[in-house]
Amino acid sequence: MDDQGTFERDDKEIEREIEALLFASDTPLSAAKLASLVGTASTRRVLAAIGTLADFYREANRGFTIVEVAGGYQLSTLPEYSGVISRLFKGRKKGKLTQPALETLAIIAYKQPISRMQIEAIRGVNCDGVLSTLIERELISISGRGDGIGKPFLYATTKKFLEYLGLKDFRDLPDLAELERRFAMDAAADRPLVPPPASASGEDGSRDAEKQ
């Protein structure tokens, strides 16, 4: 354990330690955290070791790999083996999110922190039940209180949300502007899209500014 005094620790040993840590951990471990755990100052060495391990699993055709998720790394089985694993767990996995839950989660993910009223203004429906479901599943949490009437609770997504969708970080979210463009293209495929009328000046024209 005590390697003080020796030069640099053997790369292979660091690899094995990281492998053991990833195996033992139930949450993704960040490169910085791994570095401090194995006692090296360099996250570069950690990343190199992770790369070597991932390559090794792939080349050796193992049933799992290392994935980057929620700002860290974790061992994960390959999608090909979902069948055999689900036989092991027999429906013990949590249910999928419903459409209202997904919509609400999407709004929170892009607009956080956001109050329930603001979410409801976008969805046009009451979101009480959906919010408590999402909180129960720990995908969102109350992050503070807003300034409005009654100091409403503000909601934000959790680290578990990133894990749930397998996102590396928030930059990994689908690009909203990209989604909007996709619509413009879909509409064009459907039928020629009449260019939108110039929206009233002064009135929020940000959304369709590019299309004018």
Partner: protein, 247 residues
């Protein structure tokens, strides 16, 4: 008589409108408002005929559509050509924004599906001292354990005279609501800070249990044996119910 109704579940009025817009291949930037209003109302009628529960929001939207329709009929010559505001603008903005998030939700669903095919190490901790980052649900036993701690603190103080019961569970619930209205979370032990006798401590404890039962609050802790925090649950709506709405 047989109906051939493809039963569609609409998430809300905007969802229904988007469906009609897609179905009738309507240009979302230039919605023929009397057509869409007619179709929208017809859809509501069908939903009611099928005895589906039609949420109030659907009727609010119906009113909005009729308002826009009437505004469109008003003579508009007095409006300055350039600065004229289309009565449909706000609705269109809402529709576009909602549509974008609906699409994002589709992306989320696809990612969820992918993610469900892979498995990670299960949630289990080798020992209790390694605290997780996500708070865990508090059990009744945790609460009782915490109560024991509070009572032990009290027994250290020498109080010999008996004070008649002056606090009711209802009053305590109000007090806890008050604390949680000011702050997003409250430490379990904090709620007992002002309690001077055993009865008040127990009344406070009962109030907490009652509120948890009513799902007004939730109790969480970082890991078992740690401080218990109480949060207002998202389902609790007493503030809205009691609040007055001045325009």
């Amino acid at each position: 008589m047989t109906y051939h109704v493809r039963l569609m579940q609409f998430e809300g009025p905007l969802d229904l409108l988007l469906h009609l817009i897609r179905r009738d291949k309507i240009n979302i930037y230039d919605i023929p408002i009397s057509h869409i209003t007619r179709e929208y109302l017809a859809s509501l009628e069908i939903m009611q005929e099928l005895e589906l529960e039609v949420a109030g929001e659907f009727f609010v939207m119906a009113a909005t559509l009729m308002r826009i329709k009437s505004q469109m009929l008003l003579p508009r010559h007095e409006a300055i050509d350039e600065g004229e505001i289309d009565p449909r603008d706000e609705l269109v903005r809402n529709l576009l924004e909602y549509r974008t998030f609906k699409e994002a939700a589709h992306c989320f669903a696809a990612r969820e599906e992918d993610r469900r095919k892979v498995y990670q190490r299960p949630m289990m901790k080798p020992s209790e001292e390694e605290a997780g980052e996500a708070p865990v649900e508090v059990t009744v036993y945790d609460l009782l354990e915490a109560l024991k701690g509070v009572l032990k603190n009290l027994s250290g103080q020498a109080i010999y005279h008996i004070i008649p019961e002056s606090v009711t569970v209802e009053q305590k619930i109000e007090a806890i609501r008050g604390s949680l209205a000011r702050r997003s979370e409250v430490l379990f032990t904090e709620l007992f800070g002002a309690a001077i006798n055993k009865i008040e401590i127990i009344v406070t404890f009962l109030a907490i249990l009652e509120m948890i039962k009513l799902q007004e609050i939730v109790a969480r802790q970082m890991s078992h044996g740690e401080d218990i925090w109480l949060y207002r649950s998202a389902t609790g709506s007493y503030i809205e119910a009691g609040g007055t709405q001045d325009g």
